[in-house]
């Protein structure tokens, strides 16, 4: 679809969203100031499509049956961070079915790890917590896994608390794509999948990670923490105290020049 000035657009729920060729749905939406929930997407890294929080439905149709009823045929479900925007698409995001699915995904993440927000330094700045609040997650719903996970405190400046890892691979991509170090990776399959460090001992202290690396500063939850710093930002001034994640995430939207 064209708006008459050769700018291509698609529809996100009820809004007409302009996009540049090559932009994904989420890139275009965020650039236009429209939020689609996400965890593993980051504007500076290659799309990953693993968390599925940004799942949208594309081109659902409503058809009339012989007896005069209308039936909705759900469109294709797709991760909006990996799906290119196309002119004229009708994309559904803020609809009850998808919000329910996102809520369930967040609940599953919350019970799979050991997310004890009350004593977590990332509370108030954590994307998982922020999403849970934004989506109205009122309880874990599922039984807690109580996974037994260790803390890696071998690095002089950085602590890894694996209890809170959501396997988003932001640190993996940051280290590989930006820092060019490859400090982190995921290992294992299914529910044994876990974050590992690229060193012979497997310990972070034996890697070449620096506290200033992108990978050390990109964790959306409370896994990668800077040692000896905690709770320095008072309540009321933390990232999501001032605005919900849905407003915050838009700040990180890619500007046109970056695309």
């Amino acid at each position: 679809m064209s708006n008459g000035q050769d700018t291509k657009t698609f529809f996100l729920d009820d809004d007409e969203i302009p996009f540049e060729e090559g932009q994904t749905i989420i890139q275009a939406a965020l650039t236009a100031g429209k939020y689609i929930p996400h965890l593993c997407y980051h504007p500076e890294f290659k799309p990953h499509g693993s968390c599925k929080l940004c799942t949208v439905r594309i081109d659902s149709r409503t058809v009339a049956t012989e007896d005069g009823q209308t039936v909705k045929i759900p469109g294709r479900a797709a991760a909006s961070c990996t799906t290119p925007a196309q002119a004229g698409q009708h994309v559904e995001s803020e609809v009850p079915e998808l919000l329910d699915l996102r809520r369930t995904l967040v609940q599953m993440l919350l019970v799979e790890g050991n997310h004890y927000c009350p004593s977590c330094e990332k509370s108030g700045k954590c994307m998982l917590q922020g999403l849970a609040y934004d989506l109205g997650v009122m309880s874990p719903h599922f039984p807690q896994y109580f996974s037994k996970r260790e803390v890696d405190a071998t690095h002089p400046d950085i602590l890894l608390d694996f209890n809170r890892c959501i396997l988003c691979e932001l640190c993996v991509r940051a280290s590989a794509e930006v820092d060019k170090k490859g400090v982190f990776s995921l290992s294992g399959r299914g529910n044994t999948k876990h974050l590992i460090c690229n060193s012979e001992s497997g310990e972070l202290g034996d890697t070449n990670l620096a506290a200033t690396d992108k990978a050390a500063n990109v964790c959306p939850v409370g896994v990668i923490l800077h040692k000896r710093h905690g709770f320095e930002v008072p309540y009321g001034q933390r990232r999501f105290d001032t605005a919900p994640i849905s407003d915050n995430a838009v700040q990180y939207a890619p500007v046109k020049e970056q695309v």
């Binding site: 009350p118 803390v151 405190a153 000896r228 905690g230 008072p234 309540y235 009321g236």
Partner: protein
């Protein structure tokens, strides 16, 4: 085996009738009292059991040290600030921040005195005033805060608003009324803005006045019925607390002083850094709560009490004028001798609440609370001990931290734990005087609870040792018959099989 006190263990428990008060009501946490009586209702055994288990000492191990002040406060919802600050004081040592900036110390003090105010108000008005205003064996349906609100709306209103003010002081200094994050190793994360200072200051005079009214209420009750108030739940015991270097009352920092039951100073200005040689934590097979005692006096004579009654009688003076006036009157009431009747806790507690209200006002008028210099640091250490006078008494936090910044050891002696033996002695005294030979009624049993409430115990705070407590695990078949048993005694030795 620790010393057995009078009425602690009956010789022939199997022949006795058992009465259980469970849960003990209007206290924080879960506890129960068991009383063994013979056919003539003569009391043979009375025990206050702490039946819940928390285990914070264990699961703090392996956590990063900067997380501890925020994590450990979760062991209590009433006095979390005490744990927040005691842990912070210990962690100050770890980061080499033993001497805080004036702003940081005053903000912490403000937070702490706010907590003292709210906790004491909660205990006196919500938990204990029903007993004191209506009588220990009054109608149980009205013996609660709702009954107080109906009969004495002005008293109830002041209680609620005093507590609210204390919580607002905590909120402004730590971000939340309960479980904030204001104090961090080496300082605080915020000072007050002028607007926050003015918001609190506008009510400060009213809080001082209402606190003074509360002292008058309890003082009047004492004077009207000294026969009851001076002797009920009598616990003649050593009294221990922190005092400032000049011997004045200080809830935030100081050194340890103890007076014996006659009021003579036993030790003074003893650094709390040596607490673990000064004190020994005993265990008994029937409670999850430890029984600390002064090591060189032994477990029979070395037990002590902490909290308001100890603090008010331990200090040489209170640094705020109105509370000091009241302290002098309190001391005069004892006619030169320390007051050991447990109801004296309430009077002392209200004097402390007045001190807290006055201190909050003076801190709010201090320009340092608006300062910008919030943090200090220095040489890294590997061991930290922080002690504070919590609302319920002296609170010890002790941590060791390794090279990787993780906690390897945690030991807490919580205020209520210090009072464990004293509370048991108090309930035995009451049981002996009131229950012995009488038909047991709800009102009589409430006398036992009244004695416990005097100490304002926080039972949930007090049960953390893991691997140290005697335990018994029984395997019971479908008919209720015990078929196997695993027992761990006080020394940690395991024994399998039926006794």
């Amino acid at each position: 085996m620790m010393h057995q006190f009078e009425l602690e263990t009956a010789k022939n428990p199997e022949d006795l009738r058992r009465i259980v008060i469970e849960p003990v009501s209007r206290v924080e946490g879960h506890g129960k009292v068991t009383i063994l009586l013979d056919d003539d209702n003569k009391v043979h055994q009375v025990r206050l059991h702490i039946v819940e288990f928390r285990g914070f000492e264990k699961f703090i191990e392996g956590r990063p040290f900067w997380e501890v002040p925020v994590l450990v406060q979760r062991l209590c919802g009433i006095c979390p600030v005490s744990h927040h600050l005691a842990a912070s004081k210990a962690m100050d040592m770890i980061v080499g921040g033993g001497v805080l900036t004036p702003t940081a110390e005053k903000i912490r003090r403000l937070m702490h005195y706010g907590q003292m105010l709210q906790s004491h108000a909660l205990h006196f008005f919500h938990l204990s005033s029903p007993d004191l205003l209506f009588g220990f064996d009054s109608d149980v349906a009205k013996r609660n805060i709702v009954g107080v609100a109906a009969a004495n709306p002005d008293v109830a209103k002041k209680g609620v608003l005093l507590r609210k003010f204390g919580q607002e002081v905590i909120r402004v200094t730590s971000g939340k009324r309960v479980h904030g994050t204001g104090s961090i190793p080496g300082g605080v994360n915020k000072a007050l803005t002028p607007e926050e200072r003015d918001y609190l200051l506008k009510d400060a005079d009213q809080m001082v006045a209402w606190s003074r009214d509360a002292v008058r209420i309890i003082k009047q009750l004492h004077c009207q019925n000294p026969a009851l108030y001076d002797t009920f739940g009598n616990v003649p015991a050593t009294m221990m607390s922190l005092v400032a270097p000049d011997g004045t009352m200080d809830f935030y920092h100081g050194a340890l002083r103890a007076r014996d039951q006659s009021g003579e100073i036993m030790f003074d200005q003893v650094s709390y850094q040596g607490y673990n040689t000064l004190l020994t934590e005993g265990v008994k097979p029937w409670s999850y709560m430890k029984f600390p005692y002064i090591t060189n006096l032994g477990d029979e004579k070395g037990w002590y009490k902490v909290g308001p009654l100890a603090r008010v009688q331990n200090c040489d003076s209170i640094p705020t004028p109105l509370a000091e006036e009241e302290r002098k009157e309190f001391i005069a009431h004892g006619d030169g001798k320390p007051m050991h009747g447990s109801l004296g806790f309430h009077w002392a507690r209200m004097i402390e609440m007045l001190c807290a209200a006055e201190t909050i006002k003076s801190l709010l008028l201090d320009p340092d609370v608006l300062g910008k210099d919030l943090m200090v640091s220095g040489p890294r250490a590997y061991e930290g001990i922080g002690v504070i006078e919590a609302p319920r008494g002296t609170l010890f936090h002790h941590y060791r931290v390794d090279d990787d910044d993780l906690v390897t050891y945690a030991n807490l002696i919580v205020s209520t734990t210090n009072n464990n033996t004293a509370m048991n002695v108090a309930v035995r005294d009451v049981a002996k005087k009131y229950l012995n030979g009488n038909e047991v009624t709800e009102g009589l049993l409430n006398h036992i609870e009244v004695a416990i409430r005097c100490f304002d115990p926080c039972l949930s705070c007090a049960t953390h040792a893991i691997g140290k407590m005697p335990l018994e695990v029984s395997l019971v078949d479908a008919k209720g018959t015990v078929i196997d048993c695993l027992t761990k005694d006080e020394s940690g030795a395991m024994r399998k099989g039926m006794a």
